[in-house]
């Protein structure tokens, strides 16, 4: 058995071995072994030049990643959490995302940024947010969210081969998830959404930390005689709208599950696309299951109440089926 964390580490090891231009930098990636132990042991294996501990200077080390990418390297920058990435938002949005277009296509930023996202670990309001939708808003970025061991293992190398900046969101609640990983597992595409469970009566659309909850909800719905399809978005920008439309055209009903806040969310974008492009296929309004609009609280019962849950997904599914 392998954990999501180990799959991610194997992806890093593979990338560092394949390409000498690849290096990892971020806070505590080296001597500490990574805030979430993803890079544990890599310092000993690859040395301090390639497993590079940085000061607590998110803007400087993300910007340095951009510069190093411009200078011919293939940097992987780790930011501890999406909340901390806001300290580097200038570099990500104003420089990394804009440079290719702003320079008339002269410069490319083949930078990969990894960061943890999501709640569920009682880390409260400054370590738990899901801001993937903000990054998915920005042209020039590619945004991916591995939800499975195969994607944790496979998305990194594909991201490194991309000539443009790619952000990989790793949901913190997934690191300890265990499963079987094919010993031959390798790079995966970062273009397509994946149907994780086939179904006929409605489509549950989820990503990252909510895919597992959507699959559980589908299991519960099956007990009620409802056949739910579960789609894992995998890539949040650009969205694979075609896969969503194909599914909804068959099922005619959709529930979007998003750990971000409802207002201005990715779930809102997906709902709008379905309304724009599949309006006459829908037999009920698209439903959304999002996080409550509060800074994520510490107390476990409050935190859990704020997040999408299996039962709230099931309830939303019943709602669209009744519609």
């Amino acid at each position: 058995m392998t954990t999501y964390r180990e799959a991610m580490r194997e992806a890093l090891r593979d990338a560092l071995t394949r390409d000498e231009r690849v290096f990892l930098m971020g806070e505590d990636v080296g001597a500490y072994g990574g805030c979430f132990a993803v890079s544990l042991g890599l310092l000993e294996e690859f040395g301090p030049e390639r497993i590079r501990d940085t000061p607590l200077s998110e803007s400087a080390f993300v910007g340095a990643g951009i510069g190093a990418a411009l200078g011919g390297m293939r940097p992987i920058v780790e930011i501890m959490t999406v909340n901390f990435s806001l300290l580097a938002l200038d570099q990500i949005v104003n420089t990394a995302a804009a440079l290719s277009h702003m320079s008339g296509g002269q410069f490319h930023v083949p930078l990969v940024i990894r960061m943890t996202t999501g709640a569920g670990r009682q880390l409260a309001a400054q370590h738990s947010h899901s801001l993937e939708g903000w990054y998915a808003h920005v042209p020039g970025l590619r945004v991916v969210a591995p939800a499975t061991l195969a994607d944790a293992r496979g998305m990194l190398w594909t991201a490194l081969e991309d000539p443009d900046p790619v952000i990989i969101f790793e949901h913190g609640a997934l690191y300890n998830v265990e499963g079987a990983l094919d010993p031959d597992a390798g790079p995966t595409d970062i273009d397509k959404a994946a149907v994780r469970r086939a179904g006929e009566d409605l489509t549950l659309i989820a990503f990252a930390g909510t895919v597992g909850k959507a699959l559980e909800a589908a299991e519960d719905l099956a007990d009620e005689g409802v056949s739910a399809e579960v789609i894992d978005l995998r890539t949040l920008r650009p969205l694979d709208t075609a896969t969503l439309l194909e599914s909804v055209t068959r099922t005619h009903r959709a529930v979007v599950v998003d750990e971000g806040w409802r207002t201005g969310s990715l779930a809102a974008e997906i709902s709008a696309r379905l309304a724009e492009q599949a309006f006459y296929e829908l037999d009920a309004p698209v439903a959304r299951v999002c996080s409550a609009e509060v800074p994520i609280p510490y107390a476990q019962h409050l935190e859990q109440a704020a997040l999408p849950q299996v039962r709230t997904i099931v309830a939303a599914a019943r709602g669209v089926l009744a519609g």
């Binding site: 290096f23 030049e49 940085t54 000061p55 200077s57 803007s59 400087a60 080390f61 993300v62 910007g63 340095a64 990643g65 951009i66 510069g67 190093a68 990418a69 411009l70 200078g71 011919g72 390297m73 940097p75 200038d90 570099q91 104003n94 420089t95 440079l99 290719s100 277009h101 702003m102 320079s103 008339g104 296509g105 002269q106 410069f107 490319h108 083949p110 042209p139 020039g140 590619r142 081969e161 000539p163 443009d164």
Partner: protein
């Protein structure tokens, strides 16, 4: 300052480069008034010695990260005037295909990485370019220009620390023109000695008369030699002054006319001109010949921009993502 090692041919070159920038930008003002150029446009008139002195110290394979006040940096780095002017006209023949304008000049051929209009935003990128050189074992230098306003930004402090910590080959060229837009240094900084700020990060730092192009050239030459030899980053505070407004929309309420006039008496161009005349290396005829060449160059640049074409709107979203692997 008296040039310690006068080299009339070199000094004539420095004078010519400064005059190219001055005349180019004077033409920009006319074209702005004629609505040929729009958006924000920031002139370096008065600050030419900084760009010219520093660029002369660099090799073609070195890199430059500049600010939104970048026409002078671009010309001094060797970006042709025609594509530069065409950029300001928003034409596809412009250096950035009309996508950047005055503030966002980019040129891969001369390793010119902008034209950055977020104050302080270029510093981390410069550190990264230098990190790539460090990791790949190349003896290249990255010159990073920024104004004194940037020292109030966290990115300045983060980058100073990182560059020293990792001994990165960066020349930090701080253009201290005393005003961050309209905010005087003393009104925004508790410590106005910028050299001390850099030294706080154990970065080698020196203050230079930025109105004396030979002094800038000498200081930059020394700094680049040190950096290339592997001693890590160097910070130069280049004390200068912009004679014109911050941008084309600035009524200049924040500084006295007398102050501007006082600095104009230190204009780097007549200063070097006088030195060259004094040693017999330049006469009226020689100066007229330089000016005539520059007029021809600027006329040609404007003609190229006027004749330039507009990128088809159908290509609006080209280059948001790369079209081919780099």
């Amino acid at each position: 300052m008296n040039d310690p090692d006068p080299d009339p041919a070199q000094d004539r070159h420095l004078l010519t480069e400064m005059l190219r920038i001055r005349r180019f930008e004077e033409r920009c003002v006319e074209l702005y008034s004629a609505a040929k150029i729009r958006g924000f446009m920031h002139l370096a008139i008065g600050q030419e010695a900084v760009a010219v002195g520093v660029m002369g110290a660099l090799r073609p394979d070195d890199a430059v990260v500049a600010t939104y006040r970048d026409h002078g940096h671009a010309l001094a780095r060797g970006i042709p005037a025609g594509p530069l002017m065409a950029e300001m006209f928003g034409r596809v023949e412009g250096v950035s295909r009309g996508r950047g304008g005055s503030m966002h000049v980019f040129d891969a051929a001369t390793r010119f990485y902008g034209g950055n209009a977020i104050v302080g935003g270029g510093l981390p990128v410069a550190a990264g370019l230098a990190l790539a050189d460090h990791l790949l074992g190349r003896d290249r230098v990255t010159a990073c220009f920024f104004g004194e306003g940037a020292v109030a930004e966290g990115e300045f402090h983060e980058t100073m620390n990182l560059a020293r910590l990792w001994d990165l080959p960066v020349l930090f060229a701080c253009e201290n023109n005393l005003y961050a837009m309209g905010t005087a240094l003393g009104r925004s900084e508790s410590q106005t000695d910028l050299v001390r700020k850099a030294e706080a990060y154990a970065v080698t730092a020196r203050a230079v008369d930025g109105m004396d192009v030979t002094a800038v050239a000498a200081a930059a030459g020394q700094a680049v030699d040190e950096i290339r030899a592997g001693t890590g980053p160097v910070f130069l505070e280049l004390k200068t002054y912009r004679f014109r407004a911050h941008s084309m929309y600035d009524p200049e309420r924040y500084r006295a006319k007398e102050e501007v006039e006082d600095w104009k008496s230190r204009d780097p161009i007549p200063r070097l001109q006088a030195e060259l005349v004094a040693v017999g290396a330049l006469d009226d005829g020689g100066l007229a010949a330089i000016e005539a060449d520059i007029t021809t160059e600027v006329d040609a640049a404007v003609a190229m921009a006027e004749a330039g074409t507009l990128e088809p709107v159908a290509d609006l979203t080209r280059f948001v993502y790369s079209e081919a692997a780099p």
